[in-house]
């Protein structure tokens, strides 16, 4: 009992500490650091969206990049040429685009399961990639630019100007906190418990009277909306989108983030995003690897193999393994 309290409190404490660190980060670093962490926080939001599918519901989706990228493209394409779009409608619309594609993908892939499901989601993400890459809709491999970043205004009073890096950083931070809080509440709600039941024993869920398909589809739509939010933020941050935002390598990267951090925990998604960003920076570093740094994918690939092999429960799993060894509480394997 005491050990459980210790663990519980340490979860909240670690989340609060992390939040404070992120809030204070811009004070400790220059513009490169701010941009890097802003980007990582955006990845953390995508990772959280995938955690809802993989960790909470047990749906291994290999197509998250589609929701992310399509929303980013929507944000850029729907912004007027010379003026700043209004955040009030551009943001929800971008999220809706992510959600809409998730609805489409979910409706066609949720009838399948297992490996087949993974393949179908990957294939549908590729579909979105090719739409953006090949058709005039997307602007081709060069991508398209966002010339004026959206703002949030009431009347003539400017509330949020996303053109300013610091404002953007805190806006992203706010979104991350909001998404984290929302998913935390969702996880303990009736909907969230139903998703957990579907993950652990879908057969029993159906036998008790839950129609599981609508629940899974709803999870897809929510996940798509959140990934869309991240895509919007990414497009706004860089002022630029290209087809690589829908690349299956991005989908793979997000999967790695959540497994690296630890599936089944919201903190895991955030920790994984930061761990992945650190790994990337490490392997890309010319100071450490010199000329070899351009082959950083090799190091990353090896790191992925090793970390999945040795830490299948991720960094959090490694931490909890340690705690259980120390306190000797019984563990039940899922």
């Amino acid at each position: 009992m005491f050990a459980w309290l210790v663990m519980m409190r340490s979860n909240i404490v670690s989340v609060l500490l992390g939040g404070f660190a992120l809030a204070l980060w811009p004070l400790a670093t220059g513009s490169f650091g701010v941009d890097l962490v802003a980007k990582t926080m955006i990845y953390a939001i995508v990772a959280l969206s995938l955690e809802l599918l993989v960790g909470a519901t047990g749906l291994v989706c290999f197509g998250q990049a589609a929701f992310f990228g399509l929303a980013g493209y929507a944000a850029v394409k729907l912004s007027p040429e010379g003026a700043a779009a209004s955040l009030w409608w551009l943001l929800p619309v971008a999220m809706a685009v992510g959600a809409a594609y998730a609805l489409f993908m979910g409706a066609l892939s949720l009838r399948t399961r297992g490996v087949y499901f993974i393949m179908v989601t990957l294939a549908f993400a590729q579909m979105a990639y090719y739409v953006v890459h090949d058709t005039p809709l997307g602007g081709g491999t060069d991508g398209i630019y966002l010339y004026v970043k959206p703002v949030a205004a009431i009347g003539s009073t400017l509330l949020i100007d996303l053109d300013r890096p610091l404002a953007l950083y805190y806006f992203v931070f706010g979104c991350l906190v909001a998404v984290f809080g929302f998913l935390a509440l969702l996880g303990r709600s009736r909907f969230g418990r139903a998703l957990a039941g579907i993950r652990v024993n879908e057969q029993r869920m159906r036998a008790t009277g839950f129609s599981t398909y609508p629940y899974k589809l709803a999870a897809f739509v929510v996940s798509g909306a959140i990934a869309g939010l991240a895509g919007f933020l990414f497009a706004v941050k860089d002022g630029f989108v290209n087809p690589e935002l829908l690349s299956w390598h991005l989908s793979g990267a997000v999967l790695i983030m959540i497994i690296l951090g630890g599936i089944g925990h919201l903190r895991g998604a955030v920790i994984g995003a930061f761990a992945f960003a650190l790994l990337q920076e490490f392997f890309k570093s010319e100071t450490i690897f010199g000329g070899f740094a351009k082959h950083w994918l090799l190091g990353l690939g090896l790191a992925i193999i090793v970390s999945v092999a040795l830490l299948p429960r991720g960094l959090i799993g490694a931490g909890s393994l340690l705690t259980h060894r120390l306190t000797r509480t019984p563990r039940v394997e899922a």
């Binding site: 418990r193 024993n201 036998a207």
Partner: protein, 251 residues
């Protein structure tokens, strides 16, 4: 037999797997206040029949009716919501959740409210009391906070029944609830079934013949997917075909 009390009726239910006929024109009635046992050797089609009644497997022919309504095409979830509860031969619980949460989630099926994303499910005024009640009736009141995966086999079978009851069903389809239970646990389960009998219509697939003859009001004997005999326990015991095919080796 009064037709008024018939809750579930199966008429000429058939199931084919390619060339194999697993269930061959089986008809069955489940009346409130009775236990209708289905017995037969392994492979006789008993579990397949239950799967068809519960909705997990579509029938190749025949019909299933619940209180007069044709539910043959209904999904399992829909039937469960309409009052058909089911327990499994192989324990189908949520091993990582606590016993209370197992029951609560089952009870939630009748009160789903998925849109209330801010509300803590463990404070649900409907599913929590229902869960406690059902767990107590199944004899699990003192293990509510334990992860279901740490329960003994007998306790898991009790949880299996509890979850079945949590949706407040009218019809209970029980697939070998006594499987693997010791003498004392069997007694407890039979006492529970006797209690439940008063309010529910129960279909019971079982191999434990002593238990079957103690508690059943009606017995259907299946052989190779078809009904060999369907009668009162005494009549079935005396039926020469049944004795030859099945009971002879049991006596």
């Amino acid at each position: 037999m009064s037709a008024l009390g018939v809750l579930l009726r199966a008429t000429d239910v058939t199931r084919r797997f390619g060339g194999l006929v697993a269930v061959d024109r089986v008809s069955l009635e489940l009346q409130r206040g009775t236990v209708h046992a289905v017995i037969g050797t392994n492979g006789a089609g008993k579990s397949t029949l239950i799967n068809i009644l519960s909705g997990e497997l579509p029938a190749s022919g025949g019909s299933v009716q619940l209180r007069g309504t044709d539910i043959t095409r209904w999904t399992q979830a829909r039937r469960a919501r309409a009052g058909v509860g089911r327990s499994y031969q192989r324990t189908t619980i949520y091993p990582t959740f606590t016993v209370l949460e197992n029951c609560r989630l089952a009870a939630q099926a009748r009160h789903q409210r998925p849109w209330a994303w801010w509300a803590d499910a463990s404070a649900c005024a409907v599913s929590v009391p229902a869960a406690r009640d059902v767990a107590a009736r199944a004899g699990l009141a003192d293990v509510l906070d334990r992860p279901a995966g740490t329960l003994s086999h007998g306790q898991r079978r009790q949880l299996e029944i509890a979850m079945c009851l949590a949706t407040a069903p009218e019809v209970l389809l029980l697939d070998e609830p006594l499987a693997g239970m010791g003498a004392e646990e069997t007694e407890r389960m039979l006492a529970l079934l006797a209690e439940l009998k008063a309010v529910h219509a129960i279909a019971l697939v079982e191999h434990d013949m002593d238990a079957v003859f103690r508690i059943a009001d009606r017995i259907t004997v299946m052989v190779n997917g078809a009904v060999l005999a369907s009668d009162t326990p005494d009549a079935v015991r005396r039926n020469p075909d049944v004795q030859a095919a099945y009971l002879g080796s049991q006596q």
